[in-house]
Amino acid sequence: MGGLGRARRLVRPPFVAITLIVAGWWVLSLGQPRYVLPSPPEVLSRFWELTVTGGELWTALGLSMAALLIGGALAFAIGVPLGILMGSNRRVEQVAGPYVNAFYVSPVSALTVLFVYAFGIGLEPRIATVFVFCAPVIILTCLRGARETPRTMVEVARVFGASSAQVFLKTVVPHSVPYIVTATRLGLGRAIKGTVLAELVVSITGLGEMLSGFAHHFDTASLMATIFFLLILGQLLTSLLERFEVAVTPWRQLA
């Protein structure tokens, strides 16, 4: 009973907020032409058509997947070892750290113009965009994991005569595992953002093509349905990976 009451208390406020937002949107939409602000049911019915009866959004998502997966996998394959290396070796961190940090905080989207220049408008510039979007966050998260390996563990390993390769493989790497999971979650979120940006700036395809096509035809209901699709997709993937994170490392607070 107490658990149920607590659950209800936790669930209710967001529900109230969303209801208020939808109600406000509905009221606003009454006085507006449909191409400016369609009403919630209109958007919902377009959403249903685009995902269930027609399924165009899934086709578009499939087209977007290639750049997202290849760029994300590259960032993971390079970012995880580099991050762990940087976290366990001060020299490497001093040399590479400033660049990774600079890429992390600077507006990397400006690089898309350069990628178009270098690779044309095919798949490659989109892969490059996804890569620069998610590599820095993966590297920095793994760096933290390796760096925060408790000194006691490393010292115990040394006392038992572990070589530095053994220390690295048996204490630093295992300690980084949960951070790698976190890095994947953060990287995935950024990868989705990079994919959408690349599809709007670099080459018009996939979900980006849907967005700009609907906008050109003033089909605002479909445009909003696509935006909600992206919103739900991002939320769903992130919360799935969060679940996974908690399941894999129940002792750790989420970063």
Partner: protein, 254 residues
Amino acid sequence: MKARLASLAVVIGVWWWLSLGASSLGLPGPVQVVDALGRLMSSGRLMSALSVTLGSFAAGGTLAIVIGVPLGIFMGVRRSVGLAIDPVLTALYVMPFSAVIPLFVLWFGIDEMVRLAFIFTFTVPQVAIVCYQGAKSTPTTLVEVAKTYLATERQIFWKVILPYEVPFIFTSLRLGVGLAIQAMVVAELLIQSVRGLGFLLQFASAAFDLATVLGVILFIMLLGAGAVAVMQRIETSVAPWREGISADGGGSNV
């Protein structure tokens, strides 16, 4: 420091070598890029483009701070409000920015207004969430001691919660500035403007002037990284004890 300077020298050296050897790529060397940037500056084109771009950045960012900070604190003080709004802000935070640009263009046109609205919409969640977490995490012992000494609600807010919140506000400012710059660049790239930095980039790119393209990109990225570094300095000097906590989460989240 020495290792850093050495690595910087190596990076520039490799770039130079590439620009000499692989002339088929047409990669301009560091000298040409700096030269192009210098010409843009002396002709005043860079500064006028920058002032256009920074105008919307300043307006949208300021609005996001003026609304986001009190909103976050209010959410932390009134728990039910916090619980209600938090998921909405998080959803906006996870959302790929660029996807809403077409919708925003329909609503706000292609003038300053749309940039302002865009930068505002994507900076507010970050600012409010950090301030919310700060206000929420005010230690209950502090509040209880104040209550024991018969402090009124207002006194608890001004003398306990708000002082505790100050470093969080500075963190939110740093992350907000980073995010606002990211949003600004995305807006510049996706909304055809006639005077901003994005136009400068697209113009140079259409003219196959790679030296200028590289120069402007480097300039934009250094500007972004520099602004965040300055905010980080301010933050550390205001609340040096939080250095370890606030070092991560640079705020690039486009």
